[in-house]
Symmetry: C2
Subunit: 217 residues, 2 copies
């Protein structure tokens, strides 16, 4: 079980915090707005009133001991960047930052954060793809119980072709792609032979994926 | 070619406007902040300074003649709701609204808007799914040139089985699901016979999908 820290309780940060806690993770949140802390304290492990750009606050709150920190505050770019740099200096293994725009995002990349998130821009692209591709019908959401995941193959898969493995009949999943070396084979044919080190990108209903995962261990 | 109206030039609204214009659509935007209008006017068809909650402004700007209006302003809930109601009254065919939270979203649903968007909350769920499903590895983004789309089958597909059609070899695409009647067959087997009225949910690289679409016409 991992310890997650969330800095800033806007819509994105609050949702990340509550969802992680719901998934039984340890969640510490920091915000300088007392009303936000009061509103969320029963829905997370610990909630602290503090300045995310202050090293002392990050240490006292336990953010400094987290495995993953999500910097969700993005209107105050300075606070966001300072917090990112502090988290890197404190040795946080994984730092994820919401960025206000691409200039902000590029700065964060130079600080070597692990991931930059652009919620509004991503939602805009998704909506535009849906609206402006009528000739091909719209991008269809397949539903919440469907997933695409990456798995390392079972020992028993190595050296066998996809046709032989027949994963669709056995597990009701589809192999969408095989990641190998630095590249990706999209829609691999049945002749594709699974090699050690491959990552199979599979699509299916959650139950089917769970069954496959149990076998994979 | 459709006429799109965007009300409010935050990160989401600005991105929607620029992306639609880039896709050669007609784009009208309204914002009461002159600097935002100045910044975007060369990247859209028309940009107007105005109050999105004012019927006169919606008419003068041409928003009232749009096929689709996206209400992208969401901090001022009153302005967002007023604009939504005005758009419905003006007979706009499709009204899409960004909502600040689910209470706001429910109000918009009662106004019968066509779609409510929650960019920050959706991004949070996507990130949490990526972070908190380690046992099955993380949800892998396959890249920007991959898509999942729904298509109506060619006349020549009707009555044939997926095995016969062999779409993977012919078009390098995978059929992930078949929508039929009110339901969806996930990962259909090769024996599945395509019927009139089916919608095929297909996965592949954009070029492959374009090739398929050209055939579909
Ligand atoms: N220096 C800071 N220290 C601690 N908390 C801060 C600091 N600056 C801002 N916050 C808090 O960060 C939270 C979110 O900030 P932000 O301005 O990014 O919101 P937002 O852009 O509306 O977020 P979202 O788009 O996710 O809803 C607020 O609750 C605010 O109190
Ligand atoms: N009544 C109004 N009439 C016209 N424009 C408005 C009105 N109210 C706000 N705006 C404009 O809407 C824009 C975006 O508003 P909003 O406060 O929703 O931004 P935001 O939450 O930061 O958006 P995003 O999360 O997409 O970045 C601003 O450019 C603002 O000038």
């Amino acid at each position: 079980r991992k310890q997650y820290g969330i800095l800033g309780l806007g819509r994105f940060g609050s949702k990340v915090a509550r969802e992680l806690y719901f998934k039984k993770q340890e969640v510490i949140v920091v915000d300088h707005d007392e009303s936000k802390i009061q509103a969320i304290k029963d829905q997370v492990t610990h909630a602290f009133i503090g300045n995310i750009a202050d090293e002392g606050a990050l240490k006292e709150s336990g953010i400094a001991d987290c495995d993953v920190v999500i910097i969700a505050e993005s209107s105050d770019i300075e606070a966001n960047i300072m917090a990112a740099q502090l988290c890197k200096m404190l040795g946080i293994k994984k730092v994820i930052c919401k960025a206000q725009n691409t200039v902000h995002g590029k700065i964060l990349e130079k600080l070597q954060v692990d991931q930059v998130v652009y919620p509004e821009q991503d939602a805009a692209i998704k909506l535009v793809n849906k609206l402006a591709s009528q000739k091909i019908l719209d991008y269809l959401e397949l539903g919440e119980h469907i997933a695409i995941i990456g798995i390392t193959p079972l020992e028993s898969f190595i050296g066998k072709s996809l046709l032989d493995l027949n994963l669709r009949s056995r597990y009701n999943i589809t192999v969408l792609a095989v990641r190998r070396g630095g590249g990706t084979i999209i829609n691999p044919t049945g002749e594709t032979v699974i090699a050690r080190g491959d990552i199979l990108v599979v699509f299916g209903e959650e139950d089917a994926l769970k069954r496959l995962n149990l076998d994979i261990g």
